[in-house]
């Protein structure tokens, strides 16, 4: 595209869409403008002129005057059909939809190859932190051993307020909804699905391994109580919802689970809606990236940075994935490198003993029982955690100890 004016077709005008509009209007260097915005709700009041909007997605998809489609809607299946149509029309796409990317990565990867178009998505993980671009460009020849971090602003915001205000989960969750830091149905965020989708994306760019969402175990803070926060505090620790993707021996372990972190950790002071990613490599050693992980402007800025990169026809090189494939197209092979049968040390708070029955407990190191609360510190076979995976009626709070 060179230095031409970029004409953008935008889908969605929620939090990030409006953020992009603001950031774009205040950017001096970039010649880009939003031509048309497709939204769903005809009755919603909009902050900008009505002439921007359309309710017919074909009006954007069939336009010949657009250089870039930016997809920022909630529904991941609808998003997928929009992104697919745009790419098949030969138009490059910028998105921040981690759920769509995680659920349809294989097809989206092949669509990029088939149509020779770019699909870039810096806003999908770590909000304003340029993590995907750095994994792609800076660590492309580095033998990485670990990528982990705080990737969900909602969880971190709730955890921070619980600790600092000494309040219980449900209480703070309601406040977070009011403050715009939690959705009406917060399940995907608080139960760790959002963190998991992002972990999946980072695992592709760091290690060249493509997993399915169900390959990665996640549990979150959905069952946390102030007792857990207090337990951590008394020991100089903080609870952080972490994405973990690391190499142990010649296998990889990937999961999204709350962890205790100590005051020496770079992650300890990452609070409220801030995110952080730690990248460890054989030669670059440990690097940490910290920045706002949610919010209209920070994420809008990440999207803008992608739009700007398209001027130079930027595409992800997927170097690690291509190397792993060795010219083959069998993305499935990478999944065999994931290890499930290992022992993980966990703090598990429960109400009734029978809640523990689905877990394969190897050894119990500590046990605490009271009229008020019970917990164990135990080594558990990681594989058995899948027995409680995605069960809304499960009431355990699980926190990993490293």
């Amino acid at each position: 595209m060179g230095d031409k004016n970029i004409s953008i077709g935008l889908f969605g005008f929620g939090c990030v869409g409006q953020g992009l509009y603001d950031v774009l209007n205040h950017s001096e260097g970039l010649k880009a403008n939003i031509s048309k915005i497709c939204v769903k709700d005809k009755n919603k009041k909009r902050s900008i002129d009505a002439s921007y909007f359309t309710y017919d997605k074909e009006e954007i998809l069939k336009s010949n005057n657009l250089n870039v489609i930016v997809e920022l809607i909630d529904n991941s299946e609808e998003a997928f059909s929009i992104v697919k149509a745009a790419m098949n029309n030969g138009v490059s796409v910028v998105t921040a939809n981690k759920k769509m990317l995680a659920e349809h990565f294989r097809e989206l990867y092949h669509l990029q190859e088939k149509n020779n178009v770019a699909l870039i998505y810096e806003g999908s993980a770590g909000g304003s932190i340029p993590i995907i671009r750095n994994l792609e460009e800076y660590y492309d020849n580095e033998l990485l051993s670990s990528v982990k971090g705080i990737l969900n602003g909602t969880c971190n915001y709730i955890l921070t307020r619980m600790e600092l205000e000494k309040r219980d989960y449900t209480d703070v969750l309601e406040d977070a909804k009011k403050a715009g830091f939690a959705e009406t149905d917060p399940w995907l965020d608080v139960a760790g699905f959002d963190t998991k989708f992002k972990t999946l994306l980072l695992t592709i760019h760091a290690f060249g391994i493509v997993l399915n969402p169900d390959d990665i175990f996640n549990t979150g803070i959905q069952n946390i109580s102030y007792d857990d926060i207090l337990y951590a505090k008394q020991r100089g620790l903080r609870i952080k919802m972490l994405a973990v993707s690391h190499k142990v021996g010649d296998k990889y372990r990937v999961y999204a689970i709350p962890h205790f972190v100590n005051a020496e950790s770079e992650l300890y002071n990452v609070n409220y809606e801030y995110n952080a990613v730690e990248v460890e490599g054989a030669y670059s050693c440990k690097q940490t990236f910290v920045g706002k992980g949610a919010g209209s402007h920070p994420t809008g800025n990440a999207v803008l940075s992608d739009i700007s990169a398209l001027r130079y026809d930027y595409k992800y090189g997927y170097n690690k994935l291509k190397k792993a494939l060795h010219g083959k197209t069998e993305i499935e092979e990478g999944r065999k490198q994931i290890e499930y049968d290992f022992s993980i040390k966990l703090y598990i708070r429960y109400n009734k003993q029978e809640q523990l029955k689905d877990l394969e407990i190897i050894t119990i190191e500590e046990e605490y029982k009271s009229a008020h609360t019970n917990y164990i510190i135990a080594n558990v076979n990681f594989k058995s955690l899948f027995n409680i995976y995605n069960k809304r009626d499960n009431k355990l709070f699980i926190c990993a100890i490293e």
Copy 2:
């Protein structure tokens, strides 16, 4: 260069040069090899085969078989003549020599334009932290307000050990020399010149302003004593040698001075040879990058990442500088945006009252005198600090309070 094998001519085989050799040999993805290494000392024992080495720089500069010149020698004037010759021959250059870059930036910038070759230098600031690339690529359209951080591994290593081991400066400095974290003549590091050169480079990429080294005031830890560490510790603070380049109103303030940082700061836990850079923008808010700022492999890795980028004919776009120039070539204009006449709050430890005479003290907020040590907390006209600039016989320890 595409996917071709990259043939490297290397100048210098010290700490970073050897690191590059190691990292390159263990990189699986990159087709690159070191063809020839020019070194000075014929008598020095080398860790690799003698056939690699030459003592005649022309053997590398006049070779037609090299794609990249990597310059990693100590002497900045010699480095400049090598880099200039290579660029005039149409060969792209990777360097980590911040002193050379800071002292000759104008000419080096024009050489890039004139010869249409790349000069890239990620290893010159922040060691393993990809800060220049991120300023160039990710923040290229972002209105940044501040770039600051810990950029000198030697200072940070000494400050950390002084605090943790309760030891005095000269003592720890000797240890740092033995551990390879300080040079035989440590002046450029401990007195803040190295931090200043890096600040100068970050100011170019963040704000498009090109300064001369003497435009930027620096003082370092050369006169620190354990009393200062203790003063900080008693108040829950740590002393960190900081680079500061930020916008206040419509002017910029740029300097390299030790600062007190509190426990809430992301910089507080950045210890030993680690570096950190905080970038603040109007829309991306505050982002922090932390990683090893010194050492053979981390810096070697940054150099490797530059070499890898040259495969795709990567060049810095200098977007902010070009925007500032508006098509003109008068780099000088930017200097007028720097502010010198402002009040800065400082902790100043001194032995004799007369040592303070060169400073224009506006108000004194606290004063402490004892048989052992004296200090003041004072608001000082920043401009007057230049009266003690680069004076080895000046014995003040100065630390900024924010």
